[in-house]
């Protein structure tokens, strides 16, 4: 194998709903190398969560159609049976979920929830699994892990629970860690701790990470590349530096201007993005962002722009009226 871990080609996810098909994700392609950290950024409803779940094959089991290809370390996820996918879940790819308040089983001791993976997936015996679970709790920075092993999720704070979720994800040493808004449900003061923990674990355990977030501040220093999503599609992608400084898509700029951490040093006022994210069931033939875009022309409403290459390596954007290449805004 080369050092390419994940190849995504033209991936699309459509939900069947009572009101007709809902295209949640469409036409997404990208690659991810080993030990690389990729950021997927977008507003809520932009399809980033659905995308991250589709990549690992974790979409709901009914009323969903997935097309395209997602090849993880040689394993084709799209179209694979649930049973086949179980073979890669945990060991090849694992996920840190958004809300630690709901993602842990409330009636199972946290130790058991970690043990379970070790015993079922790695075939460890009871004593070995317990020892390893306590090690994992220690690794993710939970104080007095031996006592915490017997705690129920309800007895832990949100930050501690998220650490447990991370410990579960790491249990079988996955090659790819999906972190879906891992800090959204947490207090601001805890957010940085969890992100730094993920950073540390990534280099310690030699993993690739996909960091999904709505907050550009989160990905600014932690990723090497970024994908910006809007209405289920990639609208701009490139190195983190290019996306922050040489972005061409007006939506990317709007996101940057609405992000407090990036804007704060220049003392400008935060700009909310006008309008609301589009209803995915009522998309027009044109650019989905056009109704909210200050630069939109008649063509934008009529015809959807495809991704076009820009100057930087791997930098591409989907816009008919891109911003000038000179230094970006803000």
């Amino acid at each position: 194998m080369s050092d390419r871990l994940l190849e995504v080609r033209d991936l699309a996810t459509t939900f069947a709903t009572a009101g007709g098909p809902l295209p949640a994700v469409g036409g997404v392609s990208f690659d991810l190398n080993q030990n690389e950290t990729l950021g997927i950024v977008g507003e809520s409803g932009s399809g980033k969560t659905v995308l991250s779940r589709t990549i690992m094959g974790l979409q709901p089991r009914t009323n969903v159609t997935v097309s395209g290809s997602a090849r993880l370390n040689g394993f084709e996820v799209v179209g694979a049976s649930e049973e086949a996918k179980r073979g890669i879940w945990g060991t090849e790819v694992a996920m840190v979920f958004q809300d630690p308040m709901t993602s842990l089983n409330p009636v199972m001791r946290i130790g058991k929830q970690i043990d379970e993976v070790l015993r079922v997936r790695l075939g460890m015996d009871k004593a070995a699994a317990k020892a390893r679970a306590i090690e994992l709790l220690e690794l993710v920075g939970i104080p007095s892990p031996v006592e915490r092993y017997r705690a129920y999720p309800g007895q832990l704070s949100g930050g501690m629970r998220q650490r447990v979720v991370i410990a579960i994800a790491l249990a079988c040493s996955p090659k790819l860690l999906m972190a879906d808004e891992p800090t959204t449900g947490l207090d601001v003061t805890i957010q940085a701790q969890i992100l730094n923990l993920l950073d540390r674990l990534k280099s310690q355990l030699q993993m690739s990470v996909i960091l999904v977030t709505h907050d550009l501040g989160v990905v600014a220093t932690r990723t090497s590349r970024i994908i910006v999503m809007y209405a289920g599609r990639v609208v701009e992608t490139g190195s983190t530096r290019d996306v922050f400084q040489n972005h061409r898509m007006p939506y990317t700029r709007a996101l940057l201007e609405s992000s407090p951490k990036v804007a704060s040093h220049s003392h400008t006022r935060l700009q909310a993005i006008p309008g609301r994210p589009p209803n995915l069931m009522k998309l027009t033939a044109g650019c989905a962002f056009a109704p909210r875009c200050a630069y939109a022309t008649e063509r934008c409403h009529r015809e959807r722009p495809e991704l076009t290459a820009a100057e930087g390596p791997g930098h591409a954007f989907a816009c008919w009226n891109p911003l000038p290449t000179t230094r970006g805004a803000s």
Binding site: T17, G19, A24, G45, V50, P60
Partner: protein, 288 residues
């Protein structure tokens, strides 16, 4: 769940409430027919339900006797029609008592909260812990001689705590809604809020529970009659008829099949109507 999926569940929920459907109206028709039969049984061209025709004992269904006769030569069809009176009277009467006492108390408790609510709710929960059917059997076995009115009163009183709980839970869900709070802040009178804001919203829940409550109460009366603790023979009632058929099961199975069918069909229709109304009004989680 992610925002995207949350949005999905919103879309998944049909925007209009489910249509009631043909089966619903068939059930309404059947219940209506039963009520009509019970009220006008005297005027209908039916044989006397008490008349014992010894020359036609245990006759099967046929022209002279639509559903046959029982072991005393009485017409089964006529007895079923007249027997529905007991079931309907108990259903309507007991629920009148149950709702008459339970519903206003439940609404008031949920609206007032505080000490009033605390006292009544504790009291009702103590009563609820007491198995209603055993209490009913106990009281009816001592409070002799048994009569329809006593049965209605006992079952009705036994249903009060349940009605109280359902209505109180439903009202609480609505009383905390923004528009009720807003009306309160704007100084609307209590009576106004209770009648204009709460009652119209609690009523659909109440109605669907009422139908299921009637079905429950009729079942209870049937069981009491089966045990010989309801109205005294020879007065026909569905439960009495099933009880009387016990001794002649082998000779005349029709005697148990027809009243059973009448009772089950009636209960099925009531339950179906109640269930449909509940999903129609989109009453999600009211524990019954």
């Amino acid at each position: 769940m992610s925002d995207q999926l949350e949005e999905l569940t919103l879309i998944n929920r049909p925007e209009k409430s489910r249509p009631l459907g043909l089966l619903f109206w068939i059930c309404v028709g059947w219940v209506g027919l039963n009520i009509f039969g019970a009220i006008f049984a005297n005027l209908l061209p039916l044989p006397d339900p008490l008349f014992q025709n010894y020359s036609a004992i245990n006759v099967g269904p046929g022209i002279h006797h639509l559903l046959g006769t029982d072991d005393l030569g009485r017409d089964i069809f006529s007895r079923i029609v007249f027997g529905s009176r007991v079931s309907l009277a108990v259903g309507a009467g007991a629920m009148l008592i149950g709702f008459g006492l339970g519903a206003p108390l439940g609404m008031l408790a949920a609206y007032r909260r505080g000490r009033f609510d605390a006292i009544f709710t504790t009291f009702m929960y103590v009563l609820l812990a007491f198995p209603a059917i055993i209490a009913t059997i106990a009281v009816l076995s001592f409070w002799t001689p048994r009569a329809l009115v006593k049965i209605i009163v006992v079952i009705g009183l036994a249903s009060v705590p349940l009605v109280y709980r359902v209505i109180r839970t439903a009202t609480m869900g609505i009383a905390t809604k923004d528009y009720v709070v807003a009306a309160r802040i704007q100084g609307a009178t209590d009576t106004r809020i209770l009648f204009k804001e709460l009652l119209p919203n609690v009523a659909p829940i109440g109605v669907s529970f009422l139908l299921i409550g009637i079905a429950t109460v009729i079942t209870l009366e049937g069981a009491l009659a089966f045990l010989g603790l309801s109205v005294n023979p020879p007065t026909p009632s569905w439960g009495n008829m099933i009880n009387e058929s016990r001794t002649v099961l082998a000779q005349n199975p029709w005697l148990v099949i027809f009243p059973s069918l009448a009772l089950c069909l009636f209960l099925l229709c009531l339950n179906f109507i109640g269930d449909r109304l509940r999903s129609h009004f989109d009453v999600t989680e009211v524990k019954l």
